[in-house]
């Protein structure tokens, strides 16, 4: 029995591989397992190669995992296109389509010898059972259920739900195809045991969702009443989710004519007094930056989500990368601090999005949430979130007394001034991108500009003490440290667990607040460290470099940085920890 199974499947567009993965994760959720499903495609709209990777476990899953336990190959050409995304190793069970005509001894895996190599006539079984090749993915589900002990009842239930609408003939065909796969697996037992242990008995109700839907749901929970945006991969699903839901909660949504209009409308809605949001990906963030500057100087709350993809420019829209950090932190004109937050998982996207709204409202500032393609589009089984533990913060409104002689940008100790909105009698003021005095009147005074800059920067200082926006794990007396953020943090966390299982002492810091840089938090973390490794999915190592701008770092401060779409595996990080421990 195993506790953790990583299944990678690849085929051409019409093979239904992704659909099989979705059936599996739904079944796993129903049975009480934890799982992550990531999908990967070529850039074609239809057809071309497609793949998915399902990691299913009896314990919460932190990342999509490294080397596959099971590889399902419908054709070799497509499988090999995914390269490092679907790595086969010495412990992998490889199941491939007989029709590919490749002998088990000469499969094209570049010298890797998997534990088991098995050719199965999947297409032929589908044809025989259902009369159509389209039932191939049901055969695959049968094989996986049989060989790996995966939730056969729940899979069958899923099949009947999925095909019920397509008529009895299609449904029965797929049921027979599933049974054929199952029977084949039983008649051809594997030489290696890969049966998944039953789920923990306490497993209860679970949610199955992805980061983009989670982000939209969190926005609604936080009280977001307006969304302005423009379609862009891989962020569009946030707009699609809200386009379906936001009306039910008294809000509205504008699919604008461009990225700029999307964020501009959101700034307008915020000026009008409601919580507002926009979402985009790298190129869109570039377009929005001027208006983000307006929100900074007019001191208007705003949440801007950037679902990062490979860049620059169009880059790799369907692949994850963490290379928009510099853009999020530095692309503002003028002396501006925009808080930047990053969730580390689908589940975490909820809390981070709510936090973004809270920070935006409290400090009257735009906040950037850096999600990424992986978190945004992967399906994750999530333990239901206790929403009662989230406090919602609303912007500071002027009192009756303050409205008597309202001063919009009044200098206060905290730097935060009460904010009125149109409709509020006595609160009339001029908001502007132009530098202004306390009343909001335009000014070109150097002294006033300096004081206003100071106000706008100072009000954000308390954020740097937000220890709760950092995850700290591992041994407090370790001299080896790891830092990681966003979707890669789950990889680092698993590597840390693996290292400790080997008796290696290490400590991990995961910043969910990336900017402003919480100098004290890093300083405390670095104090006992001799060596530290930053792990991130960008070619330059952007967080690594930003930390060095603000904080004195340990003597050996290194980075494991890779361009997007080059997966970082827990095993790889573990190897780095071993090396650091040895030297």
């Amino acid at each position: 029995m195993v506790d953790d199974l990583i299944i990678g499947m690849a085929g051409s567009g019409g093979d239904g591989i992704v659909s099989a993965g979705e059936s599996l994760i739904s079944a796993a959720a129903a049975e009480g397992y934890f799982a992550i499903l990531t999908k990967s495609f070529g850039s074609q709209i239809r057809g071309g190669e497609s793949s998915c990777r399902l990691r299913v476990s009896t314990r919460p899953v932190l990342n999509p995992g490294g080397t596959l336990s099971v590889a399902v190959v419908l054709n070799w050409e497509d499988f090999l296109k995914f390269g490092a995304e679907l790595p086969v190793g010495a412990n992998t069970v490889v199941v491939y389509e007989t029709k590919t005509g490749v002998e088990p001894a000469v499969i094209p895996l570049g010298g890797v010898t998997p534990a088991v190599v098995f050719a199965a006539p999947m297409e032929a079984m589908a044809l025989k059972a259902a009369g159509t090749m389209q039932a191939k993915n049901s055969v695959v589900l049968g094989l996986l259920a049989g060989w790996f002990g995966l939730a056969r009842k729940s899979i069958l239930k899923g099949i009947s739900k999925k095909f019920a609408r397509k008529g009895a003939a299609v449904l029965e065909g797929n049921e027979r195809a599933f049974a054929a796969g199952l029977e084949y697996a039983e008649q051809h037992p594997l030489s290696a045991d890969r049966q998944l242990s039953p789920p923990a008995p306490t497993a209860g109700r679970k949610l199955l969702t992805d980061g983009n839907d989670m982000c939209g749901a969190a926005a609604l929970f936080a009280g977001c009443k307006f969304f302005g945006g423009y379609p862009i991969t891989p962020a569009s699903e946030i707009m699609q989710y809200l386009g379906r839901e936001i009306w039910k909660y008294g809000g509205s949504l504008l699919q604008a004519e461009d990225e700029i209009a999307g964020v501009a409308a959101a700034v307008g809605a915020s000026f009008a007094g409601v919580k507002a949001m926009t979402a985009t990906s790298g190129p869109g963030l570039s377009l929005k930056t001027e208006v983000l500057g307006l929100a900074s100087v007019a001191e208007l709350p705003l949440v801007c989500v950037d679902v990062q993809r490979g860049g620059p420019s169009t880059g790799m829209p369907t692949k994850a990368e963490q290379a928009d950090l510099f853009a999020a932190v530095f692309s503002a004109h003028g002396d501006t601090v925009r808080p930047v937050l990053a969730p580390i998982s689908v589940a975490d996207t909820f809390g981070i999005t709510v936090e973004a709204f809270n920070i935006a409202e409290q400090y009257q500032t735009p906040v950037i949430v850096l999600s990424d393609q992986e978190i945004a589009q992967r399906k994750e089984i999530v333990t239901p979130i206790d929403t009662s533990r989230f406090k919602l913060i609303e912007r500071l409104k002027p009192t009756e007394q303050e409205l008597d002689q309202y001063t919009r940008f009044r200098f206060t100790e905290s730097g935060i001034s009460p904010l009125s909105h149109p409709g509020m009698k006595g609160g009339n003021y001029l908001a502007a991108g132009i530098e202004h005095n306390e009343q909001g009147a335009p000014t070109a005074s150097g002294e006033m500009h300096a004081r206003m800059n100071d106000k706008r920067l100072r009000k954000m200082d308390p954020l740097k003490q937000r220890h709760d926006l950092f995850v700290l794990e591992g041994d407090p007396d370790a001299t080896i440290g790891l830092i990681s953020w966003g979707s890669v943090a789950g990889v680092a966390l698993e590597a840390l667990h693996l290292a400790r299982a080997e008796g290696l002492k290490a400590r991990l810091l995961v910043p969910k607040l990336l900017y402003p840089v919480a100098e004290d938090v890093y300083r405390e973390f670095f104090a006992p460290l001799r060596k530290c490794l930053v792990i991130e999915q960008s070619h330059q190592g952007q967080l690594y470099r930003i930390i060095r701008m603000w904080v004195p770092v340990p003597p050996e401060f290194q980075v494991l940085a890779k361009s997007g779409s080059n997966p970082i595996s827990p095993e790889e990080v573990l190897e780095k920890i071993r090396l650091m421990a040895r030297a």
Binding site: G158, K161, G204, K206, L208, F221, A261, A269, P422
Partner: protein, 303 residues
């Protein structure tokens, strides 16, 4: 002599809407007339200043919200319209005015105009058209005539100007008018009518630039050049005729209403309200939020 107090303490005069900020405009600038006409129009509309949101872009004319007592938002170059739409969507009860120059509206922000028109939110867009970039000191603008010599076209412009009237008529704006500050009464009436129109309304104001503008565009000559559409017998419900007349932009100085849709279609915000009512209210539990599509896709899984 009556000793009665007025029943309502709210008496709206032009003064109600004038702020104490001193305009940065040059003496003799057409924009002074525009803001005065606007004060008069707002006094006639009788909405208190705090229920008015006045949004502008960047340029000389975009300073205008600060000279009123309304909630003002002097935003960034070219984005006044999308910002105003966000405001109106967030709070449809507000009276939303948008203003800017010809560069703001038909050059850097030109892409937003058709979309504001086709969405048809109830807002009034006032363009102060002076055929020049004044604030940046005299460069070619999108409405500068061909051949115009400016700081950025010292040998003369080699392109045709945008025709703002034809532009908005072509995209189906429900109310299209042109005014001149030289005719204060006519302009105040036009602005009032535009604000009262239930939907997107557009007023192009030939507002001369005293510093960089041509002599034949100045206020004095406007009085002799202007031809009132009403006096010409134009039927403002005739959109095709309006487009014909609009082609005279740059040649004949027509003032008045070019087009007024006799059957205004529903506004965007009224449709928003309908949709909100139709789909109205659910519990805030996460399961509900995420589970909204579970019937379709099995998104929420019961253990």
């Amino acid at each position: 002599m009556s000793t009665e107090c007025p029943l309502s303490p709210e008496v709206f005069t032009a003064k109600t809407f004038r702020s104490n900020l001193k305009p940065i405009w040059c003496p003799g600038c057409g924009d002074y007339g525009v803001v005065t006409a606007l004060y008069r129009a707002l006094a006639a509309i009788k909405r208190p200043p705090h229920e008015i949101a006045f949004i502008s872009g960047i340029g000389c004319s975009s300073r205008i919200p600060g000279y009123t007592t309304a909630y003002g938002f002097n935003t960034v170059h070219g984005r006044a319209l999308p910002i105003a739409q966000g405001i109106k969507m967030a709070n449809p009860e507000l009276l939303v005015l948008v203003a800017g120059g010809d560069g703001d509206g038909f050059s850097i922000g030109g892409g937003h105009v058709p979309h504001a028109i086709r969405r048809n939110l109830d807002l009034t867009y006032i363009v102060m058209d002076n055929q020049i970039y004044g604030l940046t000191k005299g460069q070619l603008s999108p409405t500068s005539p061909r051949g115009k010599k400016t700081a950025s076209t010292v040998y003369g412009s080699m392109e045709d100007p945008v025709n703002p009237l034809l532009y908005v008529l072509a995209y189906g704006a429900g109310f299209v008018a042109q005014g001149v500050p030289a005719d204060m009464e006519g302009l105040a009436n036009l602005l009032e009518e535009a604000i009262r129109y239930p939907g997107f309304s557009f007023v192009n104001i030939q507002s001369p630039c005293i510093t960089y503008g041509e002599p034949d565009t100045q206020l004095k000559t406007q009085k002799t050049r202007m031809r009132k559409l009403e006096a010409e017998g134009h039927d403002s419900s005739n959109r095709l005729r309006a487009m014909e007349l609009a082609q005279e932009y740059g040649r004949t100085l027509y003032t008045g209403v070019f087009y007024r849709n006799p059957n205004p279609p529903p506004t965007y915000e009224s449709q928003i309200r309908e949709r909100q009512q139709e789909l109205n209210g659910k519990d805030m539990a996460l399961e509900q939020l995420l589970g909204a599509k579970d019937a379709e896709n099995g998104n929420l899984v019961a253990g």
